[in-house]
Each structure stands twice: as C-alpha cells, then as structure tokens.
C-alpha cells in the first residue's frame, strides 16, 4: 500500500504538480514516527505508514504555521481519516482552498496511542481510544487512494466519545471540579495543545493579546482554567476529534475531554459532526430559518 503512495508522490513531484509532500518518516527511535516534508522525487522512499503514525499532519496547513507553508503553492499530504476530517474542516472554514491540497488518503485500522505501548503491532491493548467507533477508517475525501474505496455509511450524527466522558459526567459537580483541579495543577501554559491543533489558527491567539489581556498568561488556577475553557469554547462545532491536544500535552492532561463533551452537546443540539462535508457550514456560525430554538431559554 505504501508503495502505491510513494509512487503517486513521486509522480506528483516529478510532474511538478505539487511543491511538497507532507508525510511520515521513521522517527528518532523505533517506536516513533516523525513528520517529513519531501520536496524531491528521489526522497519519496522515506515515506512510511503504519500504526505508529498517530501524528496529525494538517496542523502544517494551518496559517498559524505560516512560516512552514512559505512558498508552497500546492501541497500533497498523506491523510488518514481523522486527518482528512481536519483538512475538510479547514476548507469548509475558508482557511484552505480545496485546489491547494492534494490528499493522499490512506486506510487506517487505528493508531497506537503512545510510543511506550508499541510492541510491533496494533491490537486492542494499545489502540488509541479515538479510533474506537471511527467511521473514516476508509477516508472520505481523497484525491488518491491505494485500491478501492468501499462505501461507508457515515450518516450517524453521533460520534463515539471516550468512556471517560461518561465517567466524568456521572460524577457530581464538585467531584468533577476536583478532578479537573488536580489535573490542571500540572498545567504550566505551554500551549502545546494549541500548536498541534489543526483548527487553532488565529494569527494572534486570544491568550497572547495584551490590549486588553483577556486571559492571564500565568499558570495559576485562573490563568489555566480560563485558557482551557476558552479554547474548548472556541472549538465548539469545529473540533474534528484528532486527540492531538491530549497526546501533545507534556504533562498528560486529558484536555480533549472538554472537546469531546462539547461534541456531544453539538450533536444533541444540531445533529452535526464537523469535518465531513466541504460545504457544510457549522451550526454556531450559520443561521437557518428552521434552526431549533427550544433549548434557548
């Protein structure tokens, strides 16, 4: 399968159809892979794909990482289903043009959640929870796909969310808050969660604004809570569930549980899941005459 991807990448570069192919290469230790930018056809053999490729690559298409995109007119990118959801959402939000991107779709049966759990293969003991219930294992929007694309029913408006969300929701409010206070005690406002997110694309993030200073940059409780809650709100209806924010957190705080909970709320209220349609407008920024209003009190 990867040979077909490499061949297509080689062809795209040789024909000058794309400036760069973004993909995965071997990482600096056997359990890891790393993003790679291939500019020359002879380098395509560096491209790999296996269950260690949990990185979401579309963050490099986000204008916040503009320096990386400098000079790219058309980009090819290897995408598994969740990554392509992010790309589709970026296009739907006008952050990218469809014809700027050539999507090399890859089939995915899941990714290993952490390098320390890699033992040579993907299995139920190391599969990331975001992969459970995934309906884009065969990706939905591609320019190239190795082999046939079977039909997949993606009409279910409900995404599977982690059982941890249900666990938290069962707790009483003060116990739930205590859980977050303990976890957030570790946060030191490094903003890794923001930088890996494909949808955090504000040129000047709200937390970097100084006139006025909306969010305290310091890592005390107020500064930490206000940051995470603001980010969760900014992503409502937009988060495509890649789980990178939690993976990137150097202190292993499960920040994406907020996003998952908000996803459930959006599903209940609007029957909407982002990242599936290039034309869909997400419910929080569009108005239809027949929008539900019964939850507005």
């Amino acid at each position: 399968m990867i040979e077909q991807i490499r061949n297509q990448a080689r062809k795209l570069l040789e024909d000058g159809d794309v400036d760069v192919v973004i993909g995965y290469a071997e990482g600096s230790d056997p359990a890891r892979t790393t993003p790679v930018f291939i500019r020359k056809a002879e380098d395509v053999d560096k491209l790999i794909y296996d269950p260690r490729c949990i990185n979401s690559l579309p963050l490099y298409l986000n204008k916040r990482h503009e320096y990386t995109r400098k000079g790219w007119k058309k980009t090819a990118i290897i995408g598994k289903g969740c990554d392509i959801r992010a790309i589709v959402q970026l296009i739907a939000e006008n952050q990218l043009k469809r014809d700027e991107i050539y999507i090399l779709g890859v089939p995915c049966e899941g990714q290993v959640s952490h390098p320390e759990k890699w033992d040579g293969s993907l299995h139920d003991g190391n599969r990331a929870s975001k992969c459970i219930g995934c309906d884009v294992m065969t990706p939905h929007e591609t320019d190239f796909f190795p082999g046939d694309k079977p039909d997949v029913d993606r009409s279910n408006p409900y995404e599977v969310t982690s059982p941890k969300v249900a666990n938290l929701m069962e707790l009483e409010l003060d116990k739930r808050f205590a859980f977050w206070r303990t976890d957030f005690d570790r946060c030191f406002k490094c903003y890794a969660c923001r930088e890996v997110c494909p949808h955090c694309s504000c040129n000047v993030c709200i937390t970097d604004e100084t006139t006025p200073s909306w969010i305290d940059p310091a890592a005390h409780k107020k500064g930490v809570f206000s940051w995470h809650l603001t980010r969760a709100m900014h992503l409502v209806g937009r988060c495509t569930g890649c789980g990178e924010c939690t993976r990137a957190c150097p202190m292993d705080i499960q920040v994406d549980l907020f996003n998952q909970r908000m996803k459930e709320v959006v599903q209940e209220s609007y029957s909407y899941k982002p990242g599936y349609s290039l034309e869909d407008k997400h419910p929080l920024i569009t108005y239809q005459v027949d929008d539900r209003e019964d939850f507005i009190k």
């Binding site: 100084t210 006139t211 006025p212 200073s213």
Partner: protein, 281 residues
C-alpha cells in the same frame, strides 16, 4: 535580601509632548533616601512601569551631570507605553535601575565625537550628548562635537528645542535632516535619510573621531557601512542596542544575541563587538 524585581516609586514632575505619540517624563524619586543614593552613568537604562500595565525598557535620557531629576522619552506603541502615556503630572510610576553598561566617555577624552541618531533613537544619545557637553564646559576635554539627527518628518523630530540649542553652541555642528517628503516649507535642514546625509553631505573625517550611533537595527547596519566607507575603523564606532526585555537584569533569557545579554553585557557595544555576534538581531 532585597527584592530585585520591586521598583522604586517616582513622581512624574513634568510631561513634555515631544512629537506625535512621543512624550518625555521628568521623574523624581518619592523616597528621599533613594533619591540621595541614586546615581547612574550615561548609557544605562531602567524599567519604567505604570502600575496595572507592566514594565517598559527605556534608556535614562537625562545626563548624570544634571541630577535634579531623571528623564525618559518614549513612543506610545503598545499596552505598557499606552498606560504610561495616559499618566499626568503628579502621578506615580515604578522605576528599576540603573541597569546595563555605560558609554566609555573617559576613553574619548581628546577626541572628536559624532553622534548619529534617527527618530526615537535620539534619547539615549541625548544623555551622552549633554554629559559630554557639560564635561567639556568644565575641562574642554572633547575637541569637537557633531550631531547628525533625522526623523521621518519635521513634526517627528524629538527634543526640537534642544536641537536648536545645540545648533547655537560653539564647537558643535548640528546636522538635522528629515526623510524625503517630510520637510515643511520653512525647513532649513537637510532632506534625506540619516546614513545618506552622513555619507554624502556631512562626510566626517575619521581622524581621531568616535562615532556613536543609535537607531533601529537596520539603520545601525547602514550607518556603520557608511562610516566604514568614510574610513572609520570598527573600534571607532559605538552603538547602543535594544532588544525586547523584561527583567533587565540577565535572568529572564529574552534579550540575548547569542551568548550576549543586551541588558547586562550591553546595551552599549562597539562595532567590533557587534561584528563578533551571531546574526540574531
């Protein structure tokens, strides 16, 4: 153990509107003991704060030879400077300093001095200009002092009155210029960018001369190149650098150019020292 991050309180004794967006503050320490013990040397800077906003780094724009009060001159560009600009006479600000190294004015005895600056970069030069002028009045130690200064337009010139004062002084050559398009009908100075006027109109002789340059990084670069073409050696050229700063005392790791911290190893550098620094500014 003293809290090195805690400022001394100063009262704004006077506010002068120098140019659009640019103000000068005259400042006096509120605590008499602090006032009596305070001293600084020309070239040093401080961290000035409007409480509630934060600290900003400015040079001490007054001369140590005139210790009645200290001065700073700044342009309103962001949150901290906007908060300072909103203050008026009688208000309190915080001051930490003096920090940094100093202009080696003793080494310049017997030499001719040329001060070259642009726009808001005149204040650091102004401190050393008055310092040198005052010392020369005492013991005639500098042969000749020239000042080449320009701004975008006539309105943007800082220390307008002092430019005229220097113009009137014996043994001082005042070369003032504005950028092309910035002149007014009655402008009697040059028209042209500072490095250009320096190289083509003023054309100073490098013999026994020290050039002290201040301005944005790009202007320092062009001015040094112009001076080199005029025959100046690197150790005859001095500048004062700026970089984004916070603590001012070598701890927050922000203002470094390679291993050189502008706040403790500078802000005064010779062109020789600058040439040895990596391309990090």
């Amino acid at each position: 153990m003293s809290n090195i991050y805690q400022p001394d309180l100063m009262t704004i004794a006077k506010v002068i509107n120098e140019a659009p967006g640019i103000k000068t503050f005259h400042l006096k320490f509120q605590d008499e003991e602090v006032a009596n013990n305070f001293s600084f040397e020309t070239g040093q800077f401080g961290e000035y704060s409007a409480f509630g906003a934060g600290e900003s780094t400015f040079c001490i724009a007054s001369s140590p030879t005139r210790p009645d009060h200290i001065e700073c001159c700044f342009r309103e560009t962001g949150k901290n400077t906007a908060a300072l600009a909103n203050l008026t006479e009688g208000d309190t600000i915080g001051f930490r300093g003096p920090y940094g190294n100093t202009f080696p004015i003793d080494d310049w005895k017997g030499k001719k001095l040329i001060f070259i600056g642009g726009g808001i970069a005149l204040p650091p030069l102004r401190s050393v200009i008055w310092n040198c002028l005052d010392l020369r009045e005492q013991d005639g130690r500098y042969e000749h002092i020239s000042i080449v200064y320009g701004a975008k337009s006539v309105a943007d010139l800082v220390y307008k009155r002092e430019i005229e004062e220097w113009n009137e002084m014996d043994n001082v050559t005042m070369v003032k210029t504005v950028d092309p398009g910035g002149e007014t009908e009655d402008w009697d100075g040059h028209v042209g960018f500072v490095p250009h006027v320096l190289e083509n109109d003023f054309k100073p002789d490098p013999e026994n001369t020290i050039a002290i340059v201040c301005g944005p990084p790009i202007m320092i670069k062009f001015t040094f190149e112009a001076l080199e073409r005029l025959g100046f050696k690197q150790d005859q050229m001095v500048t004062t650098m700026e970089n984004r700063m916070k603590c001012g005392i070598g701890k927050c790791g922000r203002c470094n150019i390679g291993s050189t911290y502008v706040c403790i190893d500078g802000p005064v550098f010779t062109a020789t020292e600058l040439a040895a620094l990596p391309n990090d500014f």
